[in-house]
């Protein structure tokens, strides 16, 4: 097991900078996710941890030992590829045994260890098959076995679930989590799927264009996004984001969003903004943090339902205010129909503000 530290890591391919000066501390024995859209540098970071790529600048430490320049075979990491990369000419057994065979582990011990790990992952009845003769989910487990059989200090997973169908994905997600906890192995997971990151990881680093946007617990990513990118990337359905100008009307502060929407400012926020000079923000509020009321309320805005979408357990209720759209998520059993008039009240402590210029979160008390 190992704690991993990345210090000012940069990786450039020619003039293209894939990873731009990132620093991360990855705690021992936990699952850490690198989350971001494709091309954000997350896989490059993973391959640097494996030793396949060498960082252009910066240092990587495993348990305070610098590993720059140490080749993959000496790093004792297990890596599961997105495509699994199982050797097609070897049986499942030979695939899993391969790392041990290269380490010249005695044959009996290899047999024992392969069978043990295969049992943990529940593929012990497939050992004599070739990869082409087993399903995608089983291949995934074999790849996991091959990575785990050498008792690695670090388990690296590159999009481990993206080649599986939806149902299998949920099962495998839980399965990997179970195995990880059973073995207590430090795990780094690369994914573009926020659900995967949030459900599997103890902490998540959101990346974009080779830069870490936020590194925090999954809860904080959703509740306290550090900037507008994280706010818009996380959450499904996506956060309502709109330009908002702080102004006052009849002695009360309001956010003017476009020409037709005026959102009353809760007192706590008004107080927090008092010391700031800028008046223009990006206002964000998640659909699940918008309450629909039948009666007027001082912090609610009146709106007419433009469209209702049923999403299984929830309904997505769409309001339009000129060019600005507001979407609210309510339980499916709430009666609401198109053309109906409702009062929309954002939960005061769930309103996010971002600076209009820098797109960084504006600190709001509470």
């Amino acid at each position: 097991m190992a704690a991993v530290v990345l210090k000012n890591i940069t990786k450039a391919f020619g003039s293209v900078v894939a990873v731009d000066n990132i620093s991360l501390e990855i705690p021992d024995g936990q699952v850490t996710a690198l989350l971001g859209p494709s091309g954000c540098g997350k896989t490059t970071t993973l391959l640097m941890l494996a030793g396949i790529y060498q960082p252009t600048r910066g240092e990587i430490f495993f348990d305070e030992v610098m590993v720059n320049g140490i080749p993959p075979k000496l790093r004792n990491v297990g890596l599961v590829f997105q495509s699994y990369a199982l050797y097609p000419h070897m049986t499942v057994f030979e695939n899993i045994a391969f790392p041990l065979k290269l380490k010249k582990v005695p044959k009996d011990e290899i047999r024992q260890r392969v069978q043990d790990i295969a049992k943990v992952v529940q593929i012990d009845d497939l050992l004599q098959r070739k990869p082409a003769q087993i399903s995608g989910g089983q291949q995934q487990r074999v790849a996991l076995c091959r990575a785990l059989v050498k008792n690695p200090d670090l388990l690296l997973l590159d999009e481990p679930l993206s080649n599986l169908d939806a149902r299998l994905r949920i099962e495998t997600r839980a399965e990997i989590k179970r195995i990880q906890q059973e073995l207590g192995i430090t795990t780094i997971l690369v994914t573009h799927d926020q659900v995967e990151a949030v459900t599997m990881a103890d902490q998540v680093a959101v990346m974009r264009n080779g830069v870490i946007q936020q590194y925090s617990s999954p809860e904080d990513l959703l509740l306290k996004p550090a900037n507008m990118f994280v706010a818009s990337f996380m959450g499904d359905p996506p956060m309502n984001l709109m330009e908002a100008e702080l102004s006052s009307e009849n002695g009360k502060s309001v956010f003017r969003c476009g020409s037709e929407l005026k959102i009353p400012v809760p007192d706590a926020i008004a107080a927090a903004l008092q010391s700031r000079r800028d008046r223009e923000f990006i206002l964000g509020v998640r659909p699940e943090n918008l309450e629909l009321l039948d009666e007027p309320h001082e912090l609610a805005v009146p709106g007419t339902v433009f469209m209702v979408e049923l999403l299984g357990r929830d309904k997505l209720v769409d309001f339009r205010f000129g060019e600005v759209a507001l979407r609210a998520l309510v339980p499916a059993d709430v009666a609401v129909s198109q053309g109906e008039k409702k009062w929309i009240r954002p939960q005061a402590h769930r309103i996010h503000l971002f600076g209009k210029a820098d797109r960084q979160a504006v600190p709001l008390a509470g």
Binding site: Y87, L102, A147
Partner: protein, 305 residues
């Protein structure tokens, strides 16, 4: 409608059929027929039944030619067309992997040069390299280090023809193996590295098994093409000294068109070539079975998921 489609098919196939008929079927039938005659420089069709085939059984030189052929084909194959071609492919792909794509390309192009060179020029270059006097390249070098000139061609005729054919032949394997190696998914390479494989182990356990179809294909294909190739031998050693480098196809050629043996025994020569066709067919069937080419036909040629 159906009838018209049929006519169209015939029309489209006709040019190819005519070409095959004119340049393959007719010569094949003529050759077969000719092998039943004792045709010589007078070119008369004088049928003698199976006399030519019976003569082959009594031909004391033929067994020597047979062993020469075997040695030449498998020697060239093992030393150069497969092994050396593979080494070149591995070396150039290793260079390319280290971000030196241009260097790699340069070396591959270099090894293709012999193939682009007209055979007669290529042969003459070798004759100069191997010249028994001090004017030859090899002997010049030997002389520089104080050695005595060696009569390469008369002393080592078989290694000479294997080498000269191999230097050309290796490029075929090189090109095929190189493209097979570079089309192996990078993730296999990375997986092998993470699993703890060094470069040699990676080649042995991952690369070679993944390119086994190209390897077997090149072996089989080059066997057949070496069985019928004789032009460089003809130019460089002429089959000598005293039949020591005469392979089956060259023997047939010499029986027909002479060289310094000047025989013009067309009947016997065609019988020899027909037996060579038979040998090639047997070789193909053996390869087909041993290498399980039926599987190759039904699968992608390079195993990449």
């Amino acid at each position: 409608m159906k009838r018209r489609g049929y006519g169209m098919i015939v029309l489209l196939l006709l040019p190819a059929l005519l070409i095959i008929l004119a340049f393959y079927v007719v010569p094949a039938v003529l050759t077969g027929t000719m092998s039943l005659t004792n045709m010589d420089h007078r070119l008369s069709w004088n049928f003698v039944g199976l006399d030519n085939y019976k003569a082959m059984l009594q031909d004391t030189i033929l067994s020597r030619v047979f062993w020469n052929t075997l040695l030449y084909v498998f020697g060239t194959l093992l030393c150069f067309n497969v092994t050396f071609g593979l080494l070149l492919a591995l070396a150039t792909s290793y260079i390319a992997e280290r971000q030196a794509e241009r260097t790699s390309m340069f070396f591959r192009a270099l090894w293709l040069l012999p193939r682009f060179t007209p055979p007669i020029v290529y042969g003459v270059i070798w004759l100069w390299i191997l010249d028994p006097t001090r004017n030859g390249l090899l002997n010049g070098i030997l002389n520089f280090f104080g050695g005595r000139p060696v009569s390469w061609i008369s002393e080592y005729p078989m290694p000479v023809i294997i080498l000269t054919n191999g230097v050309i032949g290796a490029s075929f394997g090189m090109i095929l193996f190189y493209s097979a190696i570079t089309s192996i998914s990078k993730e296999y390479t990375w997986a092998a590295e993470v699993d703890g494989a060094g470069w040699l182990q990676r080649i042995r356990y991952v690369t070679l098994p993944l390119i086994r179809w190209p390897l077997m294909f090149v072996t089989a294909y080059q066997t057949l093409s070496l069985l019928t190739s004789y032009e460089y031998i003809l130019i460089i050693t002429g089959g000598g000294p005293f039949y020591r480098t005469t392979v089956w196809s060259l023997y047939a050629y010499n029986e027909a068109f002479g060289g310094y043996y000047a025989s013009y025994r067309f009947g016997y020569a065609t019988a020899l070539t027909l037996v060579l066709v038979l040998i090639s067919m047997v070789a193909s069937i053996i390869y087909w079975r041993v290498f399980r080419f039926r599987e190759m036909m039904s699968e992608p040629k390079i195993e990449v998921i």
